[in-house]
């Protein structure tokens, strides 16, 4: 599988802090890569480094298999469509006129590409309206349309669902999945909305405080991570003692104010523990199995990273 | 006073501080440069000031146009106007605080610029009570008359709500009509009155025959009219 984006020990040092710290990420052709992290983790800085908008302090970027420098990046830009944070537009021009400027600059001869791009993001009816009259969500959609207009191989979207309503978020999610599957494009999305990212991506990179904490396929990373059994009982200390005395579970039991967690992949343990507690006159108000999720995995990883 | 202080805090650490400083010191440096490069016949410092006083007034007027446009349009462009409108302060008070800031800065700048030039005059040329009186008259009348003109600039800024657009309108209006400053027809252009009056205060020869009460009256009327327009524009709910 060919590698479209690769970084080698990428570092970006600003005056007072290291925004990107030895990041080695790899995006293969056909991937829908979720680049996730908290606010200020270094996602947008990394994306700017990939696109040549910032020059690295050390390390390198490779796009489409070639090393990128300030002097050659413009040759690869026609193959990339990007949207970074809140997209900027010429406010006194209409949406269609803004896209037309982009079309001309990207040397796209097909004038119908504008209408097609606007149709994809459901803005075909407001093409003649000036961008200063657009809502935030409409501007976000227009930014995505602009990224798609010249039919790029690689799509880099920084927080694409910012400002969108729930329906809009679902539409963009379905669009991204469609673009990757049907049109074979490679997509790199950065976001801090883990739930949405989890549904779209096949590969994940988690960044925190400039460091890439983990990277890999979604199933491999999340796997059984974060699976736990949760119990709400009337007497937590007694319940934990009973579980230990009966050797049902010897691993970590995390106790919180009115519940306790048992971290295990063994689902069958749930019914055994519930039965045992009830037999020992412990009132069980709630018991559930929490499945592995990106959110749990992310929080666990970030907490470990901060320790 | 509290609101004026808040307005002052908003422009601290912005490019406005540097622009104000630049235009306050530019006339001083230019007068010094002229003095250095003049031939011996024309070297008397006060003569230079009198002949080129339009530079001082033009710099002061430019900085007041830029500042007035900035403090109004910035609120719209940075979307902070919404938060001003939902604060428990009447819109008239907010607008008044902006005028108060303009008044403060205009007078301070005038006193600083004319004061420094006067000090230079003391060091490099002859000064007497008549010359001192001219400086004071030019400084105070210029500052006061410029302030009367501020409602016009603010009204343009409130109309356009865009810094560059409103500033260019004001600048073009000033610069393109500036030749009339030296003719008797300047009354037709209220924005030229402060400069014409200040220049006349400093000049010793080729003075215009200015009807000062008429000039003050025209500007007072313009000031009142555009204050009313500014208040109406600012209070408009849209």
């Amino acid at each position: 599988m060919s590698i479209l984006v690769q970084t080698n020990q990428l570092v970006k040092q600003f005056k007072d802090h290291k925004a990107v710290d030895s990041v080695n990420l790899k995006v293969e052709k056909g991937d829908v890569y979720g680049f996730i992290g908290q606010n200020g983790a270094g996602k947008t800085t990394t994306i700017r480094l990939l696109l040549g908008l910032l020059s690295p302090t050390s390390g390198g970027v490779e796009l489409f298999g070639d090393k990128i420098f300030n002097t050659n990046i413009h040759k690869y830009l026609p193959r990339i469509g990007a949207m970074i944070e809140t997209p900027g537009f010429y406010l006194n021009l209409s949406g269609a006129e803004n896209l037309d400027i982009h079309r001309l600059m990207m040397k796209v001869k097909d004038k119908d590409s504008i209408q097609r791009a606007m149709k994809i993001v459901h803005l075909e009816d407001v093409g003649k309206k000036k961008v200063k009259e657009y809502s935030m969500g409409m501007k976000q959609r227009l930014g995505i349309a602009r990224a798609l207009l010249h039919n790029p191989e690689l799509l880099i979207l920084d927080e694409p669902t910012n400002g969108l309503d729930p329906r809009g978020i679902i539409e963009i999610r379905d669009l991204i999945i469609d673009i990757a599957k049907k049109h074979g494009k490679t997509v790199l999305i950065s976001s801090h909305i883990l739930d949405e990212v989890e549904r779209m991506v096949n590969k994940i990179g988690i960044i925190n405080k400039g460091k890439l904490l983990a990277e890999g396929h979604k199933e491999e990373l999340i796997g059984g991570h974060g699976k736990s059994l949760v119990y709400k009982v009337d007497n937590i200390d007694k319940a934990v003692e009973i579980i230990r005395d009966n050797h049902l579970f010897d691993g970590e039991i995390k106790v919180e104010e009115n519940s306790f967690f048992i971290f295990t992949d063994n689902d069958t343990l749930n019914s055994k523990i519930t039965k045992l507690l009830v037999e020992n006159q412990i009132n069980v108000y709630e018991s559930k199995i929490i499945s592995p999720s990106l959110e749990n995995y992310f929080l666990e990883l970030v907490e470990k990273g901060e320790v | 006073m509290k609101y004026i202080t808040l307005e002052l805090r908003k422009i601290k650490k912005t490019s406005m501080s540097y622009i104000i400083f630049l235009f306050a010191t530019l006339p001083i440096l230019l007068m010094l440069l002229l003095h250095i490069t003049s031939d011996e016949i024309n070297k008397e410092f006060y003569t230079i000031i009198a002949n080129y006083s339009v530079i001082i007034t033009m710099c002061l007027f430019t900085v007041s146009i830029i500042l007035a446009n900035y403090i109004i349009t910035r609120e719209y462009q940075e979307s902070t106007i919404i938060y001003l409108f939902i604060a428990p302060v009447s819109r008239k008070k907010i607008l008044a605080s902006k005028f108060g800031l303009l008044f403060l800065i205009l007078f301070t700048l005038s006193i600083f610029t004319y004061g420094c030039i006067f000090l230079l005059n003391v060091m490099l040329g002859e000064v007497n009570s008549d010359i001192f009186a001219r400086y004071v008259a030019a400084c105070l009348s210029g500052a006061f008359l410029f302030f009367l003109l501020m409602p016009l600039i603010v009204a343009i800024a409130l109309w356009r709500k865009n810094f560059i657009s409103s500033m260019l309108i004001s600048l073009v209006m000033l610069i393109f009509t500036s030749p009339f400053m030296f003719t008797q027809n300047f009354y037709a252009f209220p924005h030229l009155i402060p400069m014409a009056v200040s220049n006349n205060m400093l000049m010793t020869d080729n003075k215009l025959d200015i009807n000062y009460p008429l000039a003050f009256l025209i500007l007072a009327l313009v000031g009142c009219l555009f204050t009313f327009v500014s208040v109406r524009l600012f209070e408009k709910k849209e």
């Binding site: 040549g52 002097t71 413009h74 026609p78 990007a82 600059m105 | 490019s15 630049l22 710099c59 260019l168």
Partner: protein, 242 residues
């Protein structure tokens, strides 16, 4: 490059400063007529002199405002990042804007000449004689070229400060300098005053001191070249937005 220039023209056509083209071209003619209205015995050459004296110092202000607008606008509207993602080397984006400025300067200068002629025709009530007309037409390329050679100064300063106000401030400073030094020999060495000095002398008025045309054109050419190199170097080294 042509497509980039076309895009720049498209962007300018819908911008808020477009009114400055007719204003900058027509107002000097109207103002000249108004200034001379009560004066008797005005002839064509004197009228053109007044119009030129009104236009020249203000022209730099207009062009500087345009330059800083077309560059700094990209920052103000958050478009610089997208602009840097277009598949062109950065200096191509600069050259396209410089070419656009040449077009704007040419249009304004030609419009000024036309409006000056029309206003003069109405005011003086007579046709301009062929000799004066030929001299005026010969002046136009001089004004266009000399004003164009100054655009790189504004481009460079706008690049450094990334602020639309730069042009206006530079323009006001140029008006002030032209006025201050008009009687001084120093004026022929101040680049931003040279268009006024050169057109003044080439049209046959010798009130503004000029010792050597070659030196003046040399200063202008050197200014253009040095500032252009500075712009390209700045774009290579300091283009980062953050």
């Amino acid at each position: 490059m042509l497509s980039v220039v076309k895009v720049e023209i498209k962007k300018l056509m819908s911008s808020m400063v477009l009114w400055m083209i007719p204003a900058g071209a027509i107002l000097p003619a109207i103002i000249s007529v108004l200034v001379l209205l009560n004066i008797e015995g005005v002839y064509w050459k004197g009228y053109i002199h007044t119009s030129m004296d009104t236009f020249n110092p203000l022209a730099f202000l207009i062009f500087a405002c345009f330059v800083s607008f077309i560059w700094a606008r990209e920052y103000e509207e958050g478009m610089m990042e997208i602009t840097l993602l277009y598949p062109y080397p950065k200096y191509v984006l600069l050259y396209a804007k410089i070419i656009l400025m040449f077009i704007i300067i040419a249009i304004i200068v030609i419009l000024w000449a036309v409006s000056t002629y029309i206003a003069g025709r109405i005011y003086l009530g007579e046709v301009m004689n062929t000799g004066d007309l030929k001299e005026l037409i010969k002046m136009l390329p001089v004004i266009i070229v000399t004003q164009f050679l100054l655009v790189t100064i504004t481009f460079f300063i706008t690049m450094v400060f990334k602020n639309i106000l730069v042009g206006a401030i530079l323009g006001v400073i140029s008006v002030v300098l032209c006025y201050l030094f008009q009687a001084s020999p120093a004026i022929q060495y101040i680049p931003i005053c040279l268009p006024m000095v050169l057109s003044h002398n080439l049209y046959g008025f010798n009130q503004v001191i000029l010792d050597s045309y070659a030196v003046s054109f040399g200063i202008l050419s050197a200014t253009f070249t040095v500032m252009l190199i500075a712009c390209v170097i700045y774009l290579r080294k300091k283009w980062e937005l953050h």
